[in-house]
Symmetry: C2
Subunit: 470 residues, 2 copies
Amino acid sequence: MKTEGGSPLNFNPEPHAGSDRKRLRGGAPIQIGLLGCGTVGGGVLRLLAENAGYLAERAGVPLVVKRVVVRDLEKERVSALDRSLLTTRPEEVVDDPAIDLVVEVMGGETPARALIERAIDQGKGVVTANKLLLAAHGPALLARAAARQVDLAFEGAVGGGIPIIRTLRDALASDWVASVTAILNGTCNYILTRMRDTGASFDAALREAQQLGYAEADPTLDVDGHDAAHKLIVLAMLAFGAQVDSESVHTSGIRNIEEADHRYADRFGYTIKHLAIGRDLGGSIELRVHPTLIPKQSVLANVSGVLNAVLLEGRAVGPALVYGRGAGDLPTAVSVVSDILDVARSIASGVAGMQGRGMSIKPRPVRPLGEIVSRYYLRFVVEDRPGVMGRLAGALGDAGVSIEQIVQQEPAREGQGAAPAGGRTAREPAADVVLITHDAQEGLVRNALDAIAREHFLREPVRLFRIEAT
Amino acid sequence: MKTEGGSPLNFNPEPHAGSDRKRLRGGAPIQIGLLGCGTVGGGVLRLLAENAGYLAERAGVPLVVKRVVVRDLEKERVSALDRSLLTTRPEEVVDDPAIDLVVEVMGGETPARALIERAIDQGKGVVTANKLLLAAHGPALLARAAARQVDLAFEGAVGGGIPIIRTLRDALASDWVASVTAILNGTCNYILTRMRDTGASFDAALREAQQLGYAEADPTLDVDGHDAAHKLIVLAMLAFGAQVDSESVHTSGIRNIEEADHRYADRFGYTIKHLAIGRDLGGSIELRVHPTLIPKQSVLANVSGVLNAVLLEGRAVGPALVYGRGAGDLPTAVSVVSDILDVARSIASGVAGMQGRGMSIKPRPVRPLGEIVSRYYLRFVVEDRPGVMGRLAGALGDAGVSIEQIVQQEPAREGQGAAPAGGRTAREPAADVVLITHDAQEGLVRNALDAIAREHFLREPVRLFRIEAT
């Protein structure tokens, strides 16, 4: 619904069934306001211009961009932008009664949140690709949109061009999603792929990603896992109807993975991927983001470079995977425009607010990390003397953790020769002990590691990575 | 739109914008009639019953199954079926003015086609999973539905639980799909996976598939590629807006793949998959279904067993893949129910017919097979004497086809010892010459093979498989 105010739109005043607030519009165009015009916004403008005729046929009315809010009026923009539409004042979008649909592609929480709330309150449909905002305030924004009978769509927020949101929302409407296992950060996936394929160090692979534009100058949000955690929270909202705080999602990044870990993983038949994992356990849910060893022959193991993938397990549908470019102006813009079409079509037909109807999102407890059950890869850098392997195995056994395989090897680390990491000096002999456990509760593994930390043969902090069968 | 006739439905008589034919319904339930109640139909009934509350919230009104048409009233059915709804008379569904939505899960062309046409003509929404019917008459049925302003939805027709139809129709609405490369038949994929992984023969793998219920007693439709061709035609309708006859789709199956081909493919770094391939070339399209060598590290190579996958290449979105169970009662039923929800929601909101609006489907020429350009795997079983390899290479060179690699090897075929295939006797020495070409036009390759066929050293028909980079 729109508050038409003094707008010149030729709308049909007859009330819609079940609501006196909806208005039918005749054939008047849908007027769009864009908040932000960076890479994604530019892509949206380009696709709207290139596909104008087709989109108008699909929506039933033309889609017209009426105003574009930017910070800098002078900056160069895509050629699809009519510069006379530019303004620095967001209220010219969210408060203009002639604007039906607001597209937020500025990112960040402030001022995006207040602007989206204001647009919803004015009865406008909203399309956003803002995962950070949705992770923090998604359920509240969806409730606000539902109360005002407008649509809030966000296909572009997770997985760029991958149609994961509409798959969860529409395609699996009659299924129960048991789990989500996903590669959600292209920067991490690129770095891990290069480390695996070329033997590069984390630092070298990160530099390469930065040179190619796949990583930011400050890569923290990506390589420390926060970006993936935001997206996992958005997926959990749709897959499990769960409202969760980002603090309750265990999040670790890829900085402490060494070349040696890739070599050992490969030797055991695994690939290291940075995964976002969600499970519906009935009473609670499991949500975690961390580096994970998965079998080399699994489909996710072959999702390489900057690609993203989401593997779902539905009770009825079984395994389902969607995969594609997780970032970039055009892939994300395709998703944003698919949302614009959906929302515009509903507004034009007088049935806005239908999309999210019936979705229930409520707080759900997240299982503490100590209670999860997994297999583990553990790498200990130890003094190279007899008996150490036995004491490691003994400590795990004492804690109730059984071991599937264990190997000991002199570490051979390229490029670290004279100045090894972790305080070890070149004179003392050291060895890697790497082991794979059977399924164990994480709390028990932590108990064993606490006991091992009290021994004096450890040269570096232990590397712990979980193993998933996928 | 529905012709309400003498129906007891409490509908709102106010006209909808732009149409005097649509009716708003108040909160009256959507009445569903099912044509067929086999495995998929049973799954649909089960999911509708288990998710009744949620689906009613999403649709805005309850979804009620009013009648179920079967051939045999006595046969055992799923417990979710109220047997009092059964009838053997399809007109009790398609002619009942109280029924809003017809779900066709009987399969085959007759009587499904006539019943769907009749349901459309009566203004009912239709959901079908009938790929054979859609391949033959999809464009005509969609045009009929558009003319009558009703929805015709068919997510279940391709790829079981894989949401490929709505991905093409909605998610990629602003993109241009350059190509579709897909594993669309679970039976073929299961057989090829077993042949590759266990060294089984085609016959042994087929028997195993039949024992597991993955292949029919008469497997022709699956293993000869026709089922995949039907699905490719449905995908081409959405991806390329193309109306094509099944005769113009080159279709070959997997019967002539031998164990040796899997071994050579593996040695060259490939896996053999049965692929359906579509490309938009601008002036024409390319559509073909055949066994194909793809690199072992490609994502499609790791789609194993009965799973299906569709890899799209969009101009803006880049590569996108969806993957899941391609058949089975529940995966397909999940797709059918997602369509029921969409169509029911549109009927309940008085906006039926919106889904297919603006889609344009017209006859497009299919490039003749002789004009396609590909790399080729060719295996010749030849007399084992000097000079043969040179004459093979020479014939290809003379035709303008350049060779990337060539190997010659004594064939070693397990389980065929005393009675080798293809008329060869155990006494005469024979060898396999296997070669991989560079990119070549298929017509030139055929010319070379014609020349080679005139030589007298060939012991068996040549095996030709195309190679795709995917």
